[in-house]
Amino acid sequence: MNHTMELVIGAIFINNILLAKFLGNCPFLGVSKKMETAVGMAGAVVFVLTLAGMITWLVEHYLLAPFGIEYIRTMAFILIIATLVQFVELFLRKSIPALYQALGIFLPLITTNCAVLGVAIINIQEGYDLFDAIVFSAASAAGFGLALVLFAGIRERFETIRVPKQIEGTGIGLVTAGLLALSFFAFKGMI
């Protein structure tokens, strides 16, 4: 239990996937201008990342490893993630239209979100078992969501303040992300 707690807190606060490991920065800067879109993206990532973490773990241990073809892991995982995203989109559209309305437009963007592939590979490299892999994937996704929503909250205020023209938009966004990452440093002593 203790180990699981460590894994969760570590993935959300200490090694936050966005702010400490730099995975998934493209959507981080892309969809954080409005709170609504940030929440939608965060939800979609939590959903897909947890599912992808589980499926890629199963594929690695029951398909790639027995045949000794771990070297095509990158290829296998990206295809799984791309397919998974398509299926999730189809499934949501048919069965849970309300959720599809909320997350739908973000789903295609997730294929190229390196947080998903990154976490899938980390699961394998760290030698997690299936339970740990699912916990770590979900916690990483939660960390992604937390950082994204916090960041969107800060960024909405940029609408009303005056920023030097040269660093408008992405520039000031990056500097703000740096300060947010700095504040996450405070969690370092927790474990």
Partner: protein, 213 residues
């Protein structure tokens, strides 16, 4: 119908070509990649054991020595998940040392330790840390010679535990967990050596056969 066929053929063709290309490249590079992991991660720990025995090694001899260690490795199947790699240190004027890797539970995951046993006296010839993910500046200090040299010369029946747990090892201040992990790894290596002494010695004496990857 024709369209579906076209889609299928195009995708399958690309996937097939890609699979063939990657399989071919894998054949060419796999051995080198496996050697690299040994050379850059495992062999340096073996070298540090050698140097810890008072053997000087000039910079220009290092590469040759590493090659010698790498070429001289043997494998022994002890019924574990994968065969154990054995490294051999031979130096003029001292008895041969067999070195293999064992793991302990560290602060940030497994901590790997290369443990060397003197084949004549069966005493510990030295240890070298291979992989760790300990806290920088604290746990990583178990790499320092000040800590590792304590193990040199200990007998098979010594208590491989930190003093806090009733053993003979002075733990690194502020890094009890990491020190414990090293002691645990050494203890595991000792037990493995005792249980499989004959198989290990037989593998070492099995001549110049090159170990399979």
């Amino acid at each position: 119908m024709k369209k579906t066929l076209h889609m299928f053929v195009a995708l399958a063709g690309i996937a097939l070509a890609s699979g063939l290309a990657l399989g071919g490249l894998h054949q060419v590079t796999a051995q080198r990649a496996a050697d690299n992991i040994l050379r850059f991660k495992k062999v340096p720990a073996v070298v540090s054991i050698y140097q810890g025995r008072g053997q000087a090694l000039a910079a220009d001899q290092l590469a040759a020595f590493e090659d010698q260690v790498l070429q001289g490795r043997r494998q022994v199947d002890l019924g574990e998940e994968s065969p154990l790699s054995l490294f051999l240190i031979e130096a003029a004027g001292s008895s041969p040392v067999v070195v293999f890797e064992a793991f302990g539970q560290g602060f940030g995951g497994d901590l790997g330790v290369m443990v060397g046993f003197d084949l004549a006296s069966e005493k510990l010839a030295g240890i070298g840390i291979t992989t760790m993910s300990e806290t920088p500046g604290l746990g990583t200090r178990v790499r320092e010679t000040r800590f590792t040299k304590q193990f040199v010369g200990l007998g098979q029946d010594a208590a491989f535990q930190v003093k806090k747990d009733g053993g003979v090892i002075d733990g690194v201040t502020g890094a009890t967990v990491s020190s414990r992990a090293v002691a645990q790894a050494v203890d595991r290596a000792r037990k493995l050596f005792q249980a499989h002494r004959q198989a290990i010695v037989a593998a070492i004496n099995s001549g110049q056969e090159k170990a399979s990857p």
